[in-house]
């Protein structure tokens, strides 16, 4: 993962349920689906932990012009796709907050501040945050987003933040928690478990 310090955008819209961040970044630096991130709230007293679940690219003048160009050379295409700073917008689900050194896995008391910088959670923090699995039920409770894919991505991220030797045990535990939460729907559980396989 890239370094912790570099912000991946700023908050543009928010509620206690989550926030929207926007940034201009070249493609390789876009945040990915299932990334844990944090944004300041309560005048810096707390940080909302978000789980990124939706990325969208705004269309811009240049893109429209390029798209209309009859013949786009491969060089032009590559340059535009890889190097160009593209306006990216993403949504993050609030899955907890950090108060001092403590992570809490419930909805934050207040949303982040607008324009608060958004950072990726460091591997160490991902490990710390995901040591508890209570955030899974916050994710599962959400409607109208691809919850299961998000769970799988988030948990695989959390597993990847751990040493190789601990990954399998972690995924078993996490999958078991999923089983507790969605065990009533075996078809759903089956595909969720499959996507969590180490």
């Amino acid at each position: 993962m890239t370094s912790d310090d570099k912000a991946i955008g700023r908050v543009t819209r928010c509620s206690t349920r989550g926030f929207v961040g926007a940034v201009r970044l070249p493609e390789p630096e876009w945040p990915v689906f299932g990334t844990f991130c944090r944004a300041e709230a309560q005048q810096g007293h707390s940080q909302v932990i978000g789980l990124i679940y939706d990325l969208s690219i705004e269309d811009d003048e240049l893109a429209r012009q390029l798209a209309a160009t009859e013949s786009l050379s491969p060089e032009q295409l590559a340059d535009s796709q890889v190097n160009r700073q593209v306006p990216v917008e993403y949504r993050a689900l609030a899955v907890g907050y950090r108060h001092g050194e403590r992570f809490v896995q419930s909805l934050p008391p207040q949303p982040p501040l607008t324009l608060a910088p958004i950072h990726r959670l460091s591997d160490a923090d991902v490990r710390k945050f995901t040591a508890q699995l209570d955030f899974l039920k916050l994710v599962i409770a959400v409607q109208e987003i691809p919850v299961d894919d998000l769970l799988a991505a988030a948990l695989q991220t959390a597993a990847a933040a751990r040493p190789e030797s601990e990954r399998r045990a972690y995924l078993v535990e996490a999958a078991a928690e999923c089983a507790r939460l969605v065990g009533r729907d075996l078809t759903r559980l089956e595909s969720l478990v499959r996507s969590l396989r180490p």
Binding site: L171, A175, A176, C178, A179, G183, L186, T187, V193, R197
Partner: protein, 552 residues
């Protein structure tokens, strides 16, 4: 036992030990449901094991695992299991969706202020943690081995723990040893009897059909084990035989040969044989009349080849139909084949046996070759029991409450008990009476049987202590549990016993049902009984052997 630490030592300190699971449901009558901790392997458990449940109020419960099941939070799991080769999914599912369930029969409970566990009257609260009972726990429940407690076996997987039977309670009411053929009934009965004789709690009168109790018993493997007469050489056991030749040829010490005078046989003694001898109701009904008219020598006269005027007159006067009389005479031919029946008045054998019993000597009645004739067994068992019982009743009545004058408690041991106690005859035989009258006259039964379903229900319900080896017939299993509350759960336990040397003990003489591996009937057991070190005897035997070999 009021302070806490003592109580903890009673049913073991549990801190830091992972419970097997927790109580999630159930009832006192149908047993508790315990959800197994997913970290434990269900395969490690077994029915018949004990658990201790930590109640919320400080009360502890002692229970028996009676069934083990696989369950799932989602009933659809049976139709939609994870893929067979998906180890990850299997592991995940077995953490949450799929789990093991134990059925636990609550047996005893212990309050913090109690010093002895009591029978269970309630159930632990929801989610009470359930632990496997430790050896110490089980040991506490079954008490220490002492003068009146016989170590009968060890609970499964607890070789160090002794299950001790309360002998006083065992002989206080009739009891039974059941199990299909070859499961160890006779071995077990011998251990029980040795325990009773050693403790001097009662005398036993053993109707030894297959020469299993007196002397040198052949084991299935072929080698010989000792009989009671050998284990108690000091006069506590007498061998009385019906078949002197067989007993002698087996090298058995014989204290008395039993001969029964034909004049001593009464119609009631024959009645029980009517089925076996093929006597019709009319024929059986005619016996008392014949006895009355012909006098004590009635059997001799019926069997006699010389013409009998009185018999002829009875037919002439139409007091009896000639064909009935003929049939009776023909069927009585059976008595001729019974070598222990001698014409005439017979001797005082019954008095002698009664005296032996009352003086504290148990009597093994060896049937020798007559053991193969069921009618002979029933005739003699019935004959002796009726008379001995009569004497007990008389002596008991004479004692009128003076304990010292009461006859010594007697246990009558019968094999193939269903032949004596089947519903058709149990109502009016001495055995049925003994079972029903409980210990009124200090006489109880120890019935040994492989077909308990053949025994009259009412008699069965009077059986205080039941020691049951493996049974696989449904009806037999039902019979063994008749009148036992919460029996349903124990059936599984019974049906899972090993085919040999394992038994479920329940009832009067144990604080709670228990499955044991019966202790070995071997040299160590002989020694425990205090049977003299048999180095001397071994030398003797070696000498005899060499004599036989070399004809010295």
């Amino acid at each position: 036992m009021t302070n806490k630490s003592e109580m903890d030592t009673y049913f073991g300190e549990r801190k830091g030990e992972t419970p097997l699971g927790m109580v999630v449901g159930g009832s006192l009558s149908s047993g508790l449901l315990v959800k197994l901790d997913s970290r434990l392997s269900i395969e490690r458990l077994a029915v018949g094991r004990y658990v201790v449940i930590q109640g919320k109020s400080g009360r502890k419960f002692f229970g028996l695992v009676t069934d083990i099941a696989l369950d799932a939070t989602n009933p659809d799991l049976v139709r939609q299991p994870p893929a067979p080769d998906d180890a990850f999914a299997a592991e995940v599912y077995s953490r949450q969706v799929a789990y093991g369930m134990l059925s636990v029969s609550p047996m005893l409970m212990l309050d913090p202020e109690d010093d002895q566990p009591r029978p269970n009257k309630t159930v632990p609260a929801h989610f009470a943690p359930v632990h496997e009972a430790s050896a110490e726990d089980v040991e506490r429940v079954f008490g220490a081995e002492d003068e009146k407690h016989l170590f009968l076996g060890t609970p499964l997987d607890m070789e160090a723990v002794h299950v001790n039977l309360d002998l006083d309670r065992f002989v206080e009411r009739s009891s039974g040893v059941f199990g299909k053929s070859g499961t160890g009934k006779s071995f077990l009965t011998r251990i029980l009897l040795a325990g009773i004789i050693r403790a001097g709690r009662a005398s036993a009168l053993i109707f030894d059909m297959h020469n299993d109790y007196g002397w040198a018993v052949k084991e299935e493997g072929g080698h010989e084990v000792k009989g009671l007469r050998q284990l108690f050489p000091g006069g506590q056991v007498s061998v009385v035989t019906l078949d002197e030749d067989t007993s002698r040829s087996r090298g058995s010490k014989v204290d008395r040969v039993l001969k029964i005078g034909t004049q001593q046989i009464e119609p009631e003694d024959v009645e029980m044989l009517s089925g076996l001898l093929g006597l019709s109701d009319v024929q059986t009904g005619a016996l008392p009349f014949l006895r009355r008219r012909l006098g004590p020598g009635w059997i001799d006269r019926l069997l006699s080849d010389t013409p009998d005027d009185e018999l002829e007159k009875m037919v002439e006067d139409e007091r009896i139909v000639s064909s009935t009389l003929g049939a009776i005479q023909r069927k009585f031919e059976f008595f001729r084949r019974m070598g222990f029946l001698v014409p005439g008045a017979g001797d005082d054998a019954v008095d002698d046996i009664f005296r032996r019993l009352n003086q504290g000597s148990s009597v093994v009645l060896e049937f020798g070759r007559y053991g193969n004739t069921l009618a002979a067994y029933i005739l003699v068992a019935n004959y002796l029991t009726r008379r001995v019982h009569e004497r007990y009743v008389r002596k008991m009545n004479e004692a009128v409450g003076k304990k010292a004058d009461e006859p010594r408690p007697l246990v009558i041991v019968i094999e193939e008990a269903h032949k004596f106690l089947d519903p058709a005859v149990a109502g009016h035989t001495v055995f049925g009476n003994i079972a029903r009258e409980l210990r009124k006259y200090n006489v109880t039964l120890l019935i040994v049987d492989q077909r308990p379903s053949g025994i009259d229900d009412e008699v069965m319900s009077q059986i205080g202590t039941r020691v049951t080896c493996l049974l696989d017939n449904e009806a037999d299993i039902r019979a063994v549990f008749s009148g036992v509350s919460g029996a349903g759960a124990l059936r599984e336990v019974l049906a899972r016993l090993d085919t040999r040397q394992q038994a479920l003990i329940l009832g009067h003489a144990v604080p709670m049902p228990v499955v044991v591996r019966t202790r070995d009937y071997d040299e160590a057991f002989y020694q425990w009984l205090g049977a003299t070190d048999d180095a001397g005897e071994r030398k003797q035997r070696a000498k005899r052997g060499s004599e036989a070999l070399f004809g010295e």
